[in-house]
Subunit: 359 residues, 4 copies
Amino acid sequence: MGNSFGKLFQITTWGESHGTALGVVIDGCPSNIPLTTTHIQQELDRRKPGQNNLVTPREESDQISILSGVYQDKTLGTPISLFIANKDANPSEYKEIQNKYRPSHADYTYHKKFNTPILSGGGRASARETATRVAAGAVAKQLLRSFNIDVVAWVDSVRHIQASVNTDHVSREHVDATTVRCPDSAVSQQMIDYISTIKKQKDSVGGVIKAVIRGVPVGIGNPVFDKLDADLAKALMSIPAAKAIAIGEGYQSTQMLGSEHNDILYYKDDKVRTKTNHAGGIVGGISNGESIIISVGFKPPSSIGKTQPTIDLDNNETSLTFQGRHDPCVLPRAVPVVEAMIQLVLTDHILRQQCNTTF
Amino acid sequence: MGNSFGKLFQITTWGESHGTALGVVIDGCPSNIPLTTTHIQQELDRRKPGQNNLVTPREESDQISILSGVYQDKTLGTPISLFIANKDANPSEYKEIQNKYRPSHADYTYHKKFNTPILSGGGRASARETATRVAAGAVAKQLLRSFNIDVVAWVDSVRHIQASVNTDHVSREHVDATTVRCPDSAVSQQMIDYISTIKKQKDSVGGVIKAVIRGVPVGIGNPVFDKLDADLAKALMSIPAAKAIAIGEGYQSTQMLGSEHNDILYYKDDKVRTKTNHAGGIVGGISNGESIIISVGFKPPSSIGKTQPTIDLDNNETSLTFQGRHDPCVLPRAVPVVEAMIQLVLTDHILRQQCNTTF
Amino acid sequence: MGNSFGKLFQITTWGESHGTALGVVIDGCPSNIPLTTTHIQQELDRRKPGQNNLVTPREESDQISILSGVYQDKTLGTPISLFIANKDANPSEYKEIQNKYRPSHADYTYHKKFNTPILSGGGRASARETATRVAAGAVAKQLLRSFNIDVVAWVDSVRHIQASVNTDHVSREHVDATTVRCPDSAVSQQMIDYISTIKKQKDSVGGVIKAVIRGVPVGIGNPVFDKLDADLAKALMSIPAAKAIAIGEGYQSTQMLGSEHNDILYYKDDKVRTKTNHAGGIVGGISNGESIIISVGFKPPSSIGKTQPTIDLDNNETSLTFQGRHDPCVLPRAVPVVEAMIQLVLTDHILRQQCNTTF
Amino acid sequence: MGNSFGKLFQITTWGESHGTALGVVIDGCPSNIPLTTTHIQQELDRRKPGQNNLVTPREESDQISILSGVYQDKTLGTPISLFIANKDANPSEYKEIQNKYRPSHADYTYHKKFNTPILSGGGRASARETATRVAAGAVAKQLLRSFNIDVVAWVDSVRHIQASVNTDHVSREHVDATTVRCPDSAVSQQMIDYISTIKKQKDSVGGVIKAVIRGVPVGIGNPVFDKLDADLAKALMSIPAAKAIAIGEGYQSTQMLGSEHNDILYYKDDKVRTKTNHAGGIVGGISNGESIIISVGFKPPSSIGKTQPTIDLDNNETSLTFQGRHDPCVLPRAVPVVEAMIQLVLTDHILRQQCNTTF
């Protein structure tokens, strides 16, 4: 339960990290949207492991196959089934942990919830699962193109190293210019160096991913529970390691007075705009036409190479030194995941708004 | 669309701030849960306006009626319909704004989304709507009692004034000891004084509400999208004026190394525990048996008494001095709303877990 | 659970037959649909008890109140809450049955499912619940008007008395011309006489309601599970006492060869039509532009005045003579219920199709 | 949209008849249910084409692969992804119909709904899609085994040839004893001969499938919309070519008086029973512990070998002689599909009832 997302543009993902394959079925994609494997592959390539030495060395080509729902490079309106084989699942390296719970890892909670072997179902808790989100997000992106909606996410901070990014002009080209996916060239090298240091220490580190969504028309989002920001919050908090979500000024808004935070409306060039954008483009749960600004705080990955105390399945104290491949910092690879989740929410809400516009 | 919440314990709320009444229908509440109007009224009384001089003077008794689903003080398993009359709707005071958009208020976005008069549908964007959330939350609370689950929320900060609260021992009695609902007696008076100052300045102020959920068994939450933290994030972000959500250490976790953040498991008194609780009680989207810690950042209310520039419905520049009754700080009244949304999420997920436990 | 219906135009009904009131909340109705209490009341008046001596003498005016979602006679796009008071609930007449299960009535199944007193929750099994369906259907009807879609249902047979009705021309005026709601004037008096005879015998009788839906555009319905006919089947089978559903030729189609049943396509006056309409307007779960023809078989009501053997709550054999007010034949009052359920399904599917038409 | 079914035990199917593959993802299956490919394959083998000369000669082995959700022959509680390759898709034989609508086939309605080439998306309207329903039903069946619930369906009539079957004793062995899947040995040969005759005439024929569900406990089903019979009606009406659904006496009940139709309750051997079972095991939408009896009327298949008039994509009159492989009578292969849909509904409702039983 809980492996589907979206009301009209609904995805269902499947696959364990150590199993045969991963995949996603997308139901509710309208017909005649241009779609090829290339559209999806280029997004997956941004997330895949082994891209560079900042990330896990697991070797996965993450080759996408479209099994249904597309004909002559256009969507049919029928379910789109996407498939990714697991090629480098290496159960041997998990031997150490088949009887021990990794600290702060989902081994323990999955085991207690499902009463299954800890190296099986827990495979859904692996970041590997997010490949299918990226694949589905690539389909959503094709639909958003028709609306000229553009989503760009980037690594905004790695621990204490904070970037400064202009949300009006940042582009994917800027983001992908460095392996750490931070468009602030002044600090991106510091981030890279810092992650390398942490990696050598067999430790891990977190940070913040920020995103801007440009071109969303006024009126997207559904009060009172399915607010656009509420659905974005759920989408982003469901990404592994996410622990904090902020819209617009986020926690900074708690330090402002109403007279400071209120965004004053004005009219220019046939368009209603606001002079500031403290709200981050969403008011009352509905888009106001300004750029939507959102950020996600990621904790450091729980899988580290250092020896840690823990308990085994019989509740005896023991210690564990995890040898498996893992990322010292998930942020660079999480950038396309954040974009995908945002694209899925927007597409769903844009389709939902179609139902209200004809009267 | 979007006025229902929950999968198994599903609520649907209705009613505009300036209309006849408000209400909520709860479908999916099991039978034979003890429930009387008193259970609900005592929660509503914590949220109602006019309680003290920190909050809006609108006079609403918020008297609850149970119209269905309960017989001889027990739930029937049929839909529970709850009703609250609006007694002090005062449309006259809204004359000023019938042709002008209030800055940062949902007037503009509702108007563009629904193409309806700005003083009508926008009534759903009023904080008044949250009364029905509190009423539904009170029903959920009755069910959570059988599981010995306890939710306590409080005002943790008002702008720069920060409380210090022990999440193991904080109780509702501590919270309700002061009108500002901050259990830290050392700072609660500062908060009260500060809000009074802001009120005199015809301005408004935000802050943070924090909550602890004690007694949740291991195994609650559904990967990969309906994670417990993801559903909590949606629930809380859907509250008016919420702009940031954090679980456990939240953004602080981005400043920690993996070796610092990992919560080490140990076994004591027949129970698996963690030595620290940086995760805030949720790992891989599933509760781990530790207390769940969550916080919500609220922006300052957009309705302020100061004169502000804006535009009218014809896009002409104008200015607006809002005379309507409003809260200088929503936090004290938002405390029961935060609790209610948490109770709704937990109840829903606990019912969902019933389906997985029999095999 | 199970008291909501529809995906985009979603209704949630509440209220027990012997309680204070009944109601329905409609979420997902677009804004700016004309709607007044009159639109709803005229449909409710067709269903209400006490209309004539064919039906139950329970005295209920079934006065509708619109509590939210409508302003200045137009829908707001927010939830529409509709309310009907119970005025003539008469628990005294149910004394006889508070410890005995009525044969073939839901007393027993509700009691076992919910473990609640048999005269309480079982109130949801009363035909009284259908008043809220009719109220919601009246709102759907207002939306269908914009699409020139027209739904007409009628009593097609009462036991062995079979009407002959031209589905191209039958209108509500024809249907409402007699109290039995059969537009075939040649047999309607026979039906009336027969029901009166059955009533005198303290017995009850069933029959068939048939409906035609004219004006549905091609392309409505969603393969493969949410087919238009599948959703109609669910909607109609959920009406109390419904036991059989047929689309187009229904069971008659099992007696035909493919070469006889196939509807040949032709083109005339800028429109694709079929020469016959054996399919009843739905092919592959999608409307084909021809009239949709559907019928519902209703069993005789279980509440009869004759003395019947049964068991009591302690499983002892006993007998029961039910004195409560009831209908000897539900069909005349079920006609607006059938129309309402059809209108709800169509409205939902038409809104769903909005999401597929823009590309 | 519309390719998912079920609320807690939710399946999503995908795949076009002429595409690469078909599949289904099952979300919500509890963990630790025994499941192997054999469990699924034996059900698929009953549905697969080419079994004998009564059915389509298309050669499909319909080999099932389990891609996720199962480990060491037990379910994990994670999504179960099932995959079936298409091996004998033969687009060449569809050349004749790439510009012409087959009469009474979904070509036309899919084309108008989705605006896609008629030989692509329409592939979802093929009976081939039902393979995935059978695969998912086999998983549901494994769960129903723990409850000792048993579903048996059979061919009850082929056009005018009517079987006589004892619903208390009929078993799968009786059903599978003949290729026509009719357990009445006296008439099964007549059915076989008749279908062969029709096949030689290049025509097609329909009939009725009936099913009995034994062992369902009292209390399954959710009033008022998600009644057990309503959900069964939807499930069965969504099967290609289904045109009529009946529960218990079905249309026969319209010919009975209340005093004849009412099932009298009695108590024997620690169990409440009814003397008759006219209701077919469901009262007020909830199971009463008696066997559930349901039937589905299937129209004759639209694909026939005879030359028929039709129109082409430019609306010109033409004629069509379909050369593709097809079934003269779908009933023998539809028997496992009917069982699968029933199993899916029951499993879903049994899981839903788990949420109501703990208080």
